[in-house]
């Protein structure tokens, strides 16, 4: 939606109709592959349980909203959704703030410890989460944070902030340094420059960082399963597991709630998507 006039180059010359058709066909094929699994999930969620658990593969079969009414009415889905929203939003806001300051520092300043910080941001992303769960659980237990949202937010920040800081560095690299200098000439502190001049210019980058942080928190399972010990504190990803019993799965409830989980993520995506491309440029332009 964003750029009506693409900056992308040689394509201003007219395409032949044949090439145009080929282009659209390729994109349509790719779009089908991209959308089909999700579409099938939606279709399945509209089938009654008895149909889902047979070998029938008709796209539409006895359509019903029963799965949705059951998920929304008879389970604690709404509580879990609210929990997920709270955790994801806090993670996104804090993540963006922390990532932006760190990203700005490593973009603008060459300070002692700069390389260590860059390596730290990278290495943090290399840790297999499975190995971290027990030690972090024990830390949180020591802090008395088990079954509290802050434990999840902190755990999520360890995985979102390094990537977002890395990305924001790339983004700040594209903001001309002359702006910083102008700020300083006007008597602003480095913080003032960052807050009043640079951040407003970095909105697309912030949008991506927020989107990424929100989605990561929204979809995380492992920490949430370990840390949240009361079902009033479950997030959606954990609550969903309740529909899988020891010996059987409630496919109807699972598919319906999967759709309901994917919708907010998709909405957030639509809100920020106009910024995504510019935000992900990650240091591509030389100002």
């Amino acid at each position: 939606m964003s750029r009506a006039a693409p900056t992308g180059a040689w394509s201003r010359d007219r395409r032949s109709p044949g090439r145009s058709i080929a282009l659209h066909l390729t994109l349509i094929a790719a779009s089908i592959v991209s959308v089909f699994p999700v579409a099938w999930l939606v279709l399945t969620s509209l089938k009654p349980r008895t149909v889902i658990e047979t070998a029938s593969v008709a796209p539409i079969d006895h359509p019903t909203l029963a799965n949705y009414t059951q998920v929304l009415g008879e389970t604690r889905f709404l509580t879990w959704a609210a929990n997920s929203v709270i955790v994801s939003l806090i993670t996104a806001v804090l993540g963006v703030l922390l990532a932006a300051t760190t990203g700005y520092a490593v973009s603008r300043f060459r300070f002692p410890g700069f390389r260590s910080v860059m390596w730290m941001l990278l290495i943090t992303q290399m840790f297999p989460v499975a190995i971290l769960i027990v030690p972090i659980y024990n830390l949180m237990a020591g802090l008395g944070l088990i079954n509290q949202f802050p434990s999840l937010v902190i755990a999520y920040l360890t995985s979102t902030v390094p990537f977002c800081a890395w990305m924001m560095k790339g983004y700040f690299d594209t903001v001309p340094v002359t702006i910083d200098e102008a700020g300083r000439v006007d008597g602003l502190t480095p913080f003032g420059t960052f807050w009043r001049l640079i951040l407003p210019l970095a909105k697309p980058g912030l949008a991506v960082a927020a989107f990424y942080s929100f989605l990561t928190a929204w979809a995380e399972v492992a920490y949430a399963k370990a840390f949240m010990t009361g079902d009033d504190k479950y997030t959606l990803a954990v609550g969903l597991d309740q529909f899988v019993g020891q010996h059987k799965a409630e496919w109807g409830l699972l598919t319906a709630s999967s759709v309901l989980i994917a919708i907010p993520a998709a909405v957030v995506f639509l809100l920020v998507q106009r910024h995504l491309v510019t935000g992900l440029t990650a240091g591509a332009t030389k100002a």
Binding site: Y137, N138, I146, K225, G230, Q242, G245, Q246, H247
Partner: protein, 431 residues
Amino acid sequence: MRRVLTSAAVAAALALAVTACGSSSGGAGSAPAKSAVPAEVSGTVTWWDTSDATTEGPVFQEIIKGFESTYPKIKVNYVNVPFADARDKFKTAAQSGSGAPDVLRTDVGWVAEFASLGYLAPLDGTPALDKPEEFLPVPAASGKFNGKTYGVPQVTDTLGLLYNKELLKKAGYDEPPATMADLKKVALDVKSKTGAGGIALNVDAYFLLPFIYGEGGDFVDVQNKKITISSPQSVAGVKIVEDLITSGAAVKPALQDSYTNAETAFKDGKVAMIFNGPWSNADNLGGKVFKDNPDNFGVAPVPAGSVKAGSPLGGHDYTVYAGSQNLDASYLFVQYMASAESQAKIAGKLGLLPTRLPAYSAPEATANPKIAQWAKPMETAVERPWIPEAASLFQPLVEGYQKLAGGQTTTEPMLKDVATAYQGILKGWSL
């Protein structure tokens, strides 16, 4: 039915040399012993229930209401924890000393492991272990470790042979197969005469056990600290499975979602027989070929091998977390939940098999036809090795079974690999 159960219990009791239980009286379960002290106990009991949240959970919550009105000073915090997550979640919480529940519904296969790690409170001599002589001995043994009792049996189950009566009749059989040899014959006849498949296999180590037990094999011999998964008996058992697959008596098993695929084939009438437990009753009776014709659904004990008919004992125990701040309240909670009365209620409403003998004859329980239906298969229940490492023994065998079912290996080398893996798990055990 009562006779059947008593004989089963006695037989198992003899085998185990545990106090036999034949003497208990039939009437409605006796009320929990109430003294002045229990009524004064107060606190909050957090219970992690691992049962099916949508179907079973509500019944347990109903019983909790009864507990709370009997002991008004105790509050119960009911949390449904999905079965698949419960073990990891409990262990992570238990070792840290924070976040663990007071009472956990524990799979019979987990008790020894948790107990060996010091996570569980011994229950001998506490109110939690009320009238232990009433318990069926095989399920009761699952709660014991190193001579102490850590688990109070909640429900029990085992595998049986489920069959589609119409398909078997079409193939010329009025009765389900009673031996493994017959199983193959019936399956092949069903295949040739009805066009449906003979038997659907669930490629999971647990579901191999009836074949292995039938020939006198097992994973391990606990008493002699011996790994027996590659013994001639176990090999003979798994060979039956290999033969069922290669001969076409079994339909080609799916390896991923194996359970669901086998169940779907059975429910849709695409296959005549399956091994499964009482938990699948409701699921099966909702299927295409049983929904309007529940009489078509048959339950029988697993077929006997050359030695015996044997199927693994499953079920759940109540355990109390050693670090609980509310031990006294937790003991009373377990006592109430595991009482014959509560068990009869659960049996009646959910068809889950009680672990106390008197509960079987309670009118509430006998009202549910499932209880009688599964009485005979329960007679074949075999105690599993209750050792801390038990839960680790399944994965190597699942991988091996998958390779066998996928045709990438044969029984002997597969079981040999599994035995080698077991040597890494059970340090110091002989082959």
